[in-house]
């Protein structure tokens, strides 16, 4: 090992490392993939870690990225060394302040994990569309291509901003760089400090707003002044590129790594070059090295400083021999003459050549192309395809590479087998489940190899979009040279499949090279396993002459007390087989690492892991690979065979991770997808499923209500329907007196159930002979799967009950309603989805949902399949996600639009009275649609109207027909999490509620930003540990409901289904029936609370929450005030236990007792006071007698 200091980190940590050391104020807000930078800084600050100025930075979490930019602007104006981190939509929200900050020449660095902007769809992955959206702001744009560069350029940007006064965006590719783990050289602290220009910093301090030397900034200017003032900054932009290069040179001199604004790599006599920026540069670099080695005259120009664009340096960096250039943009600008980098290059070449800059004598042929949108793979094969295109006589212009564009024919073909990777690089792939710890172990292996040997190491991890039962694929490389392969492993020496179930669907051996090693975790012995493999896997292993090893890691894990966590065991196998380190040394290193990693969590955890290491090798066996294939078993499809063609051929491929193979033509042009497709994706996640005991069941419907995935359902039907029922189909007499003579069935969708057991937990009926048994009990899924598949299909065929006959305020009746939200990708045991499901049951056939970005938009709207479903008539929720921050406004837009169309339709109906007849017109226009009967009747009338207008040619009829359906009551629901409602969307939410319009808001309150990994929101309760509140949230939860009640005309309910399900039901029915704004704040237990929600404890937690007074149940109904009654009804009783009893059952609170016991004690006591005072206040409000006859409070606007 050399004496340089190395770290094995990802891009985010590398950047945060520098940023924290050199700044004193950070304004943060979570957004993927940049969140970890803010999280690191907040954590270091909470631990009292000092920066290089020897002070602890002040890290402030804001309510939105816009807020963070505003706070940052203020901090900069008052002289702070301040910065921020963000990406994508977050960067867009910062734009107004970015113009200001640049206009005022305030030095700062925004570290940006470049991420796709939402257009036809949201994507959390990487491209430069966000960066390109800020190129006009006046910020310098400096791009890094690798983890090492991200650390280095973070420092260079920081040094350059102080010297130049130009604020910087330092960007690096989201996920590909932000989340790639690399072994990098650490910049020593003294070097960092030495690169800070103290005079420039002093000057920044001196320019700060101060009443001791007052100035005025932010003036308003008129035509006489503005233009000149805008041009006054030019000298700073002119000087900026030189300053950046000087800083880069100083860095090179001190650290030894050389950077240039435009860095050329390749043949000195290159004829064809590519120009690009970001992580693609590394792959292009690797490909160019390879091709030059083969004698090709090619090169790559890496753009580092994109703004200010130094045209002279740009053209000087291009070899004189260059004849053809392809400029690659990782963004799309529809309708433009070309993408931004392409246009900049063209302009610079044109102008530079005219001025005689550089070595080029004539204008080369320049073409532009797009690649890598939303982290689409960009591989050496694609780089080669670009060079091949350039070499052709008529290169394709404005091309795309990496996809198959069969619509506009833009794409370049490429050879997926082309590889530049040498024999010296060990390439390994691991297929794991999120829950088994595979990724964590691999990150650990990279650290062991990276920090324990001279090898370079790289890790990149691909995750599923589902939150339950998700597959992770780890891509690891190790080798003696720097690793520039910023693309997935496709030719692996070692492939490990950590979960045997993946073999059913995925050809996991596909990437294995000839003679490679395949390791499988399997319950089968080395003698049995071969016969259990699918045919394609056997074929692969035979033809590739692979070495095949097996281990029953689950058995070893259980024997070592590790439960289902097989990570350490599989890690030992990897080291034992891959030969990256000598076996004994590797095992010692693993043990050392276990002590280091787990030591803080206690001896027990260390002991179990070490025991697992010691138990592993004796259970690892080689399986001789026979010369012939014996299996006939094929891989399972991504969706069921009965799925519609589109689902099978398109969504099914996405479900099998084969989406890259799909051409452009199969995709919708505007992002519209069919609903009701989740039902075709049978994921078979549950090891155990609930089994109904009809003799014990009291038919209360609680299990059906609480099921997060709508996999347990009830139906009541005529006994005649049982004809032809499968032999194992269960049925009993319906107990509800209203259903006398009918049969009742509780059925489980065995292949969709995630096995969370919430249903069993809430079941109140116990077996009198054996009290541990209930009316539903968990039983192994595998032996039941086939029978239950038939039972489920038969159950689906049973008729749904007429909605007009269902009593909607009684849970045991209401739960018979068909859920139109099913089998989502939410976490097993999710606390949010039962509310959405209930909503879909009650109003799904007339429901429009505006969904804020967050968990609910991901499990609700992430491809491949859609949980929102349709009834037998094809009706169901219509769903759309606009943004995170604007959701209330977006939903209000629905309401305003629908009301207007309804009003217009009614006007047209009246005009068409001579055709329609007065009775029908009167019926339609004056319809009362307060219940299912009213809505049914109106649908009938509208159908009659359509019938009568069929073929009508009048102007009015043509106008009416497309909007006639709006005459049927539409239920508009605005759904989002607490991050949206309490923080980023609060301003809009407040305005929308104050509008008086008939919108319904459902706040799924998990008390934390769940989707982005548990950052504190204003809904986070006091004492909870969360990201951005690493030391425990010091302040109490915001009382959103109380704020809303102050308007008087808003229906407000606070519910917790796990504590009182029928209360939740009533709140939903009342909220929807209220002809004005409504808000339901629904407590949602969450995996981010540190409770085992996938083991069915969620409802229990909710009960404890309510029993201790930590959460109140109430309804505030303005209609009651209209009747002279107190509008507030407090529906939970006074606390039965101390708050602490609940707090200590959730890790988010309990962990504070382990990290900061004194603080925990203090905050928990305050939490008790919060609960006491809140109860007293609400009890007071609810007990008030309205004096003097209350004014009827009604909706303000209709």
């Amino acid at each position: 090992m050399s004496n340089k200091t190395y770290l094995t980190v990802d891009g985010n940590e590398a950047v945060a490392y520098v940023s924290y050391r050199l700044n004193e104020v950070m304004a943060i807000y979570p957004i993927t993939p940049s969140s970890p930078m803010g999280e690191w800084c907040d954590q270091w600050a909470s631990e009292g870690k000092r920066n290089l100025w020897d002070t602890i930075p002040s890290v402030v979490a804001m309510q939105s990225e816009g807020g963070a930019a505003g706070a940052l602007h203020g901090a900069l104006q008052t002289g702070a060394l301040a910065n921020t981190f963000t990406a994508s939509q977050g960067l867009l929200l910062k734009i107004p302040n970015m113009y200001k900050i640049a206009g005022e020449l305030l030095p700062t660095v925004f570290h940006i994990t470049a991420r796709t902007l939402a257009t036809h769809a949201l994507s959390i992955f990487g491209d430069h569309s966000d960066i390109m959206a800020v190129r006009q702001t006046g910020f310098a744009l400096l791009g890094s291509a690798s983890v090492q560069e991200a650390m280095d350029l973070a420092l260079i940007a920081q040094a350059a901003t102080f010297k130049s006064r130009v604020p910087f965006v330092h960007f690096f590719d989201g996920f590909r760089t932000s989340h790639e783990v690399q072994k990098i050289q650490v910049i020593p602290d003294d070097v960092m400090l030495s690169m800070m220009d103290l005079e420039a910093i002093q000057a920044h301090r001196n320019r700060a707003m101060s009443p001791d030397r007052p100035v005025l900034r932010g003036t308003a200017q008129n035509p006489d002044a503005f233009f000149q003032g805008r041009e006054a900054c030019n000298p700073f932009y002119d000087a900026c590129p030189d300053i950046v290069q000087q800083v880069m040179d100083e860095f090179a001199q001190k650290v030894g790594r050389t950077y240039q604004l435009f860095q050329y790599v390749g043949a000195p006599d290159a004829e064809r070059i590519v120009i690009l920026m970001g992580s693609g540069c590394e792959t292009a670099h690797e490909t160019v090295d390879y091709l030059v080695g083969k004698g090709e005259k090619v090169g790559v120009l890496k753009v580092r400083l994109y703004r200010p664009f130094d045209m002279k340096r740009f053209i000087e960096a291009i070899p004189a021999s260059v004849q053809k250039i392809a400029v690659l943009d990782r963004t799309k600008e529809p309708g433009a003459a070309g993408e931004p980098l392409y246009q900049d290059c063209i302009a610079a070449l044109y102008e530079g050549l005219a001025k005689g800059w550089g070595q080029l004598k004539t204008m080369p042929k320049v073409i532009g192309g797009r690649y890598g949108l939303s982290s689409k793979e960009f591989t050496p094969a694609m780089v080669k395809a670009v060079f091949d295109n350039l070499a052709s006589a008529q290169p394709k212009e404005h091309f795309t590479v990496g996809i198959q564009d069969d619509v506009s024919q833009t794409s370049l073909p490429f050879d997926p087998e082309f590889s530049t990777e040498g024999d010296q690089v060990v390439r390994a792939m691991f297929y794991g489940l999120g829950a088994d710890g595979t990724v964590g172990a691999n990150k650990n292996s990279i650290k062991i190899i990276g920090e324990g040997t001279d090898n370079y190491a790289q890790g990149y991890f691909v995750y599923d979009s589902k939150k339950s039962g998700s597959m992770t694929v780890s891509h690891l490389r190790f080798g003696p040279q720097e690793i520039r392969s910023t693309y997935l492993v496709s030719h692996a020496n070692f492939v490990a499949c950590h979960q045997p179930v993946f073999l059913e669907r995925h050809k996991v051996t596909q990437p294995l090279i000839a003679g490679g090693i395949f390791l499988l975790n399997t319950p089968y012995s080395k003698d049995e396993v071969w016969e259990k493999l699918p045919k394609v896997i056997q074929e692969d292993l035979v033809t590739k002459r692979a070495k095949f090893y097996v281990i029953d890691a689950i058995k070893v894990a259980h024997a070592s007390g590790m439960g289902g966590r097989i990570n350490t065991i599989m890690q030992v196998c990897f080291f034992a087989l891959a030969g990256v380190l000598p076996r004994d040394a590797a095992i010692e290193a693993i043990k050392l690492s276990i002590k280091k990693t787990y030591g803080k969590k206690g001896e027990e955890v260390v002991r179990k892991n070490i025991e697992a290491v010691d138990n592993t090798l004796a259970n690892l066996h080689e399986v001789p690979v026979p010369g012939v294939v014996s299996s006939t078993e094929s891989l399972a499809p991504g969706v069921t065979k009965d799925a519609p063609a589109y689902v099978r051929e398109v969504l099914g491929k996405l479900a099998l991770n084969l989406g890259d193979e799909l051409p452009v033509s199969v995709f919708p042009v505007d992002g519209s997808f069919p609903t009701a497709t989740a039902r075709y994706e049978k994921r078979n996640l549950a090891l155990e499923i609930p089994v109904w005991d009809e003799k014990i069941c009291i038919q209360c419907g609680k299990c059906v209500a609480i099921c997060p995935h709508a996999t347990i359902r009830m139906k009541v039907y005529d006994p005649k329907c049982l004809e032809g029922a499968p032999a194992t189909f269960k049925s009993t007499d319906a107990r509800n007196p209203e259903w006398k003579g009918l049969k009742y069935t509780l059925q489980v969708a065995a292949e969709d159930c995630t096995g969370c057991a919430l249903c069993v937990d809430v079941c109140p009926a116990k077996n009198k002979q054996e009290a541990r048994l209930k009316a539903i009990n968990m039983r192994p899924q595998a032996p039941l799967r086939l029978d239950e598949r038939d039972n489920w299909n038969f159950f689906l065929g049973l008729p749904e009950m007429d909605r007009r006959k269902i009593k909607v305020t009684q849970l045991r009746s209401q739960q018979i309603m068909q859920p139109l939200f099913e089998f989502s990708g939410a976490c097993s045991g999710c606390g949010e989805t039962p509310y959405i499901k209930m909503l879909s049951q009650l109003f799904g056939d007339r429901l429009l949902i505006a969904n804020a970005t967050g968990c609910s938009s991901i499990y609700g709207g992430n491809l491949p399949t859609t949980p929102y479903a349709q009834d037998a008539c094809g009706r169901g929720p219509a769903w759309c996600n606009s943004l995170f921050e604007d959701n209330a406004e977006f939903g209000l837009g629905f309401r305003v639009s629908l009301d207007k169309q309804k009003e217009f339709a009614a006007e047209l109906v009246k005009k068409l009275a001579p055709v329609l007849g007065d009775d029908l017109v009167d019926g339609i226009v004056n319809a009362v649609q307060q219940d299912e009967t009213g809505i049914y009747d109106q649908r009938e009338r509208v159908a009659a109207l359509k019938q009568k207008l069929q073929g009508a040619t009048s102007h009015e009829a043509k106008l009416l027909l497309p909007i006639a359906d709006t005459l049927v009551k539409r239920s508009v629901w605005i759904i989002g999490g607490d991050g949206w409602a309490y923080d980023i969307g609060y301003g809009g939410l407040d305005h929308v509620l104050a509008s008086g319009r008939n919108v319904n808001v459902l706040v799924l309150d998990t008390e934390v930003y769940s989707n982005t990994g548990g950052q504190a929101s204003k809904a986070t309760p006091r004492g909870a540990v969360a990201k951005f509140a690493a030391g425990g949230k010091p302040l109490a939860k915001k009382d959103l409901g109380l704020i809303c009640m102050t308007y008087g005309n808003i229906y407000v309910a606070s519910v917790a289904m796990g504590a009182k399900d029928e209360h939740t039901l009533r709140a939903f029915v009342e909220a929807e029936s209220y002809d004005g704004p409504s808000i339901i704040i629904a407590y949602s237990h969450c995996i981010a609370h540190g409770v085992a929600i996938d083991m069915g404890v969620g409802a229990k937690q909710q009960k404890a929450l309510v029993d201790t007074g930590q959460w109140l149940l109430y309804r505030f109904d303005p209609r009651r005030a209209g009747r002279g009654e107190n509008p507030l009804q407090l529906d939970s009783s006074a606390a039965k236990a101390k708050v602490q009893e609940y707090l200590l059952t959730e890790n988010r609170f309990k962990m504070l007792t382990k990290s900061k016991p004194e603080e925990a004690k203090r905050l928990f006591e305050k939490a008790q006071t919060d609960a006491d005072l809140r109860w007293q206040f609400y009890a007071h409000l609810a007990s008030r007698k309205l004096e003097g006859g209350a004014e009827p409070v009604t909706a303000l606007a209709k």
Partner: protein, 338 residues
């Protein structure tokens, strides 16, 4: 009145000490106990099993759900240091020692032999004046013989005694085949004190919800009969000090225990019910009784009605129940009439 007594070599101002209970969790309450006249305090127990479980739980919850979903690779901040060992307990001993002058007896419940010894050593280092081994065990394993169970007690005691120099007491359950034999063997193995007896949490059944619900029932004076007997039997026959606990609520209860041979009496339920100040009441009543009966010291009283010193030693061994029945005025005619 000379109330002083000696327990495991510790000089105590009175024979009224506080047994292990939640009252010792707060320093402020320790002060109250001292102010009320408690002569020593046994701290609440450090449970090794609980530490192990909490460590495993913490690991589980910090890992759970991580590295599964691209936007949420974890759900909690990466805290660099946790207190997952006995740090809190040890700190509490230190704080207690600083806050009060009375002897602090730590209480330990281990789950592994290594845990018993390691924690015992740390407890001594933290400044505890003595250590009580709370061997809380319900041998439900049908394969474990009485000898196995007894050996476990002895093994733990011997291992701990090797590691520490402070006095070590063993808090025992009465459920042994031959309790006297166990007590003697523990004394021979070096137990500086025996604490009689441990009251176990007993399960209850919730009729409405058909659930087994363990709950704490505070003792009543009835509970003192069992330790009273065994203290009386052991007094003067073993080298270990004897501490009486269970059912000591009033001065009369304490006096009886002392007469049976206890060196110290330890109050728990009465203090939980009436608060730390109750010790003052018990002491006042005890002094009043002693004065009224012209005793000079507690020492004088100690063991005066032990099996060795009482007029009918067999009364502690005989089946008292049989004698009670035989002296009852039994009239079959009366029963038939009823």
């Amino acid at each position: 009145m000379d109330l002083t007594t000696s327990y495991m070599g510790l000089k105590l101002r009175s024979p009224l000490a506080a047994a292990a209970s939640p009252l010792s969790e707060e320093i402020a309450t320790l002060r109250q106990l001292e102010d009320a006249g408690a002569s020593a305090v046994v701290l609440y127990s450090l449970f090794e099993e609980q530490l192990r479980r909490e460590s495993a739980e913490l690991d589980y919850h910090l890992q759970h759900g991580t590295e599964s979903f691209a936007e949420a690779l974890s759900y909690f901040p990466e805290i660099s240091e946790f207190r997952t060992g006995p740090e809190d307990y040890l700190e509490h001993i230190e704080k207690a020692k600083q806050a009060v002058k009375l002897p602090i007896i730590a209480s330990l419940n281990g789950s592994t032999l290594g845990g018993w010894t390691a924690y015992a050593k740390q407890i001594q280092q933290a400044g505890a004046d003595a250590l009580e081994l709370n061997i809380y065990s319900i041998p439900a394993d049908a394969d474990a013989t009485a000898a196995d169970v007894e050996a476990m007690y002895l093994d733990i005691l011997k291992a701990v005694k090797k590691e520490v120099t402070i006095p070590v007491a063993v808090k025992l359950s009465p459920f042994f085949t031959n309790f006297a034999n166990v007590a003697h063997r523990l004394a021979q193995a070096g137990a500086d004190g025996l604490v009689l007896f441990n009251r176990f949490y007993q399960p209850d059944i919730d009729l409405e919800n058909l659930e087994v619900k363990p709950n704490v029932l505070l003792s009543t004076p009835m509970a003192m009969r069992l330790p009273l007997r065994w203290i009386a039997i052991l007094y003067g026959r073993i080298s270990s000090s004897l501490a009486a606990t269970s059912g000591i609520h009033r001065a009369s209860d304490a006096l009886k225990m002392l007469m049976a041979g206890a060196d110290v009496t330890m109050l728990c339920s009465a203090l939980l019910r009436h608060g730390p100040g109750h010790i003052t009441t018990v002491e006042r009543d005890m002094v009043a009784w002693l004065e009224q009966h012209e005793y000079e010291s507690v020492q004088q009283l100690k063991g005066s009605l032990s099996q060795k010193n009482c007029d009918d030693p067999s009364s502690f061994e005989r089946a008292q129940y049989m004698r009670a029945i035989s002296t009852y005025p039994y009239d079959p005619n009366q029963i038939a009439a009823a």
